[in-house]
């Protein structure tokens, strides 16, 4: 289901060009607005749809197997940690869902260098950062080599 940009809603801000993992959202030379240059490499990941501040991008299911008349629209609200979906069927039925996306504010992750620096002698141990505490068990499991 590739994406398309609504002519009247796009104001050419470039967020979709910036985010697209497939590098297929680009700027049209006539209107200086975005459009999908390669729908056959569109995964319908909705990254651009979610990133567009004007909700100007939507998806029309891949024409080779998705009949017309449907809509799957999304509103992602990172500051509230939520994503909402409104799905309209070809026959008009509507389903709506809201799901959480994050329990902490965006930007709040503690950088690894903000933790106390490890003793570099531990470089040769099998333990990774924050272990064994982060495993929530006493010690990192070690395989009994005698079994080999």
């Amino acid at each position: 289901m590739p994406t398309y940009t609504d002519m009247t809603k796009c104001d050419g801000c470039g967020e979709c060009v910036d985010i697209c993992p497939s590098d297929i959202m680009h700027i049209d030379p006539v209107y200086r607005r975005s459009y999908n240059i390669e729908p056959n490499f569109c995964w319908e990941c909705y990254s651009c749809v979610k990133a567009c501040p004007q909700h100007a991008i939507d998806v029309r299911g891949y024409a080779d197997f998705a009949p017309l008349g449907h809509k799957v629209r999304v509103r992602r609200e990172p500051e509230k940690g939520a994503v909402s979906w409104k799905i309209k069927y070809r026959d008009g039925r509507v389903k709506e869902f809201t799901f959480p996306i994050r329990t902490t504010p965006f930007g709040s992750i503690k950088a690894p260098s903000d933790y106390e620096a490890p003793d570099l002698s531990a470089l040769t141990s099998p333990m990774l950062s924050h272990e064994p505490t982060a495993l929530h068990i006493e010690a990192l499991p070690i395989l009994n080599k005698a079994k080999a």
Binding site: G14, R32, Q54, E77, K80, G81, T103
Partner: protein, 252 residues
């Protein structure tokens, strides 16, 4: 330069009536150009159909005063360019928008009301120049730095395409207006001044006559669509999910 009416000097070779007719023709060019654009492309029909469909799926009927309020809000937002979510684009657009408005209004007033230099209130040429400068500052910033194809899509800042017809002809028009006025003030009716006036007229005419092919008419379309979106959100015909009431941050 800031204080003298630039159009008063033009009366040496052009009558005030000619200038006024020109302005009326340019206004007509915008109107006709916009109407041609929407009829030829069928966009008027498209938007009429879209509006009909959305009205049909409206969940509630909005009253006259509700509709009026939404219109006022739309205009208010447009007045502060609030539809732009990034501050540099918003700032440059405000400069261009109000600069253009100032420049055009003062042009019209000077040409229609004060064709002779002596009686022109100083405020008019001053605002005419300030308006042109605002367009230049906002516009050049936009053109070389902020244009999305330059900022996000790897285009060279010097890249010129059809999408730039409006902004490029606008910038050229005000740039030549200022340069011409400066040269004209220094050496009235010299060859250089005449040439510059010609260029000023060329780009100004291009700006208004190219409406069917440029983004000029978007200044009318965009607020209309913004109004329509507000209506759809208010009457429940929008296909977007509503914003959530809860906040999920902080829950485990």
């Amino acid at each position: 330069m800031f204080t003298s009416n630039p159009f008063a000097t033009v009366t040496d070779f052009l009558s005030p009536l000619a200038m006024q007719v020109y302005i009326v023709l340019m206004i007509l060019a915008v109107v006709i150009g916009t109407l041609l654009d929407v009829s030829h492309k069928g966009s008027a029909k498209f938007f009429a159909q879209r509006r009909e469909k959305s009205m049909a799926s409206a969940k509630i009927r909005l009253s006259g005063s509700q509709t009026l309020t939404l219109a006022v809000i739309t205009i208010a937002e447009a007045a502060v360019s609030g539809e732009f979510c990034k501050w540099p684009r918003r700032a440059s657009h405000l400069l261009m928008m109000y600069g253009f408005v100032l420049h055009v209004i003062t042009t019209v007033v000077m040409v229609f009301v004060y064709p002779a230099a002596a009686s022109t209130p100083v405020i008019l040429p001053t605002l005419w120049t300030v308006g042109a400068l605002m367009v230049l500052v906002g516009g050049l910033w936009f053109f070389f730095v902020l244009r999305v194809n330059v900022a996000y899509d790897g285009a060279s800042p010097l890249h010129l395409g059809r999408a730039d017809l409006f902004v490029a002809s606008l910038l050229s028009s005000v740039a030549f207006a200022l340069v011409w006025h400066f040269v004209q003030s220094a050496s009235a009716n010299s060859t250089a001044a005449r040439i510059l006036f010609g260029l000023y007229m060329f780009f100004t005419t291009l700006l208004f006559v190219s409406v069917p092919w440029s983004k000029f008419a978007h200044m009318f379309f965009k607020p209309a669509v913004a109004f329509q979106r507000r209506i759809e959100e208010a009457n429940g015909s929008t296909d977007l999910p509503s914003p959530v009431a809860d906040n999920y941050i902080g829950r485990s």
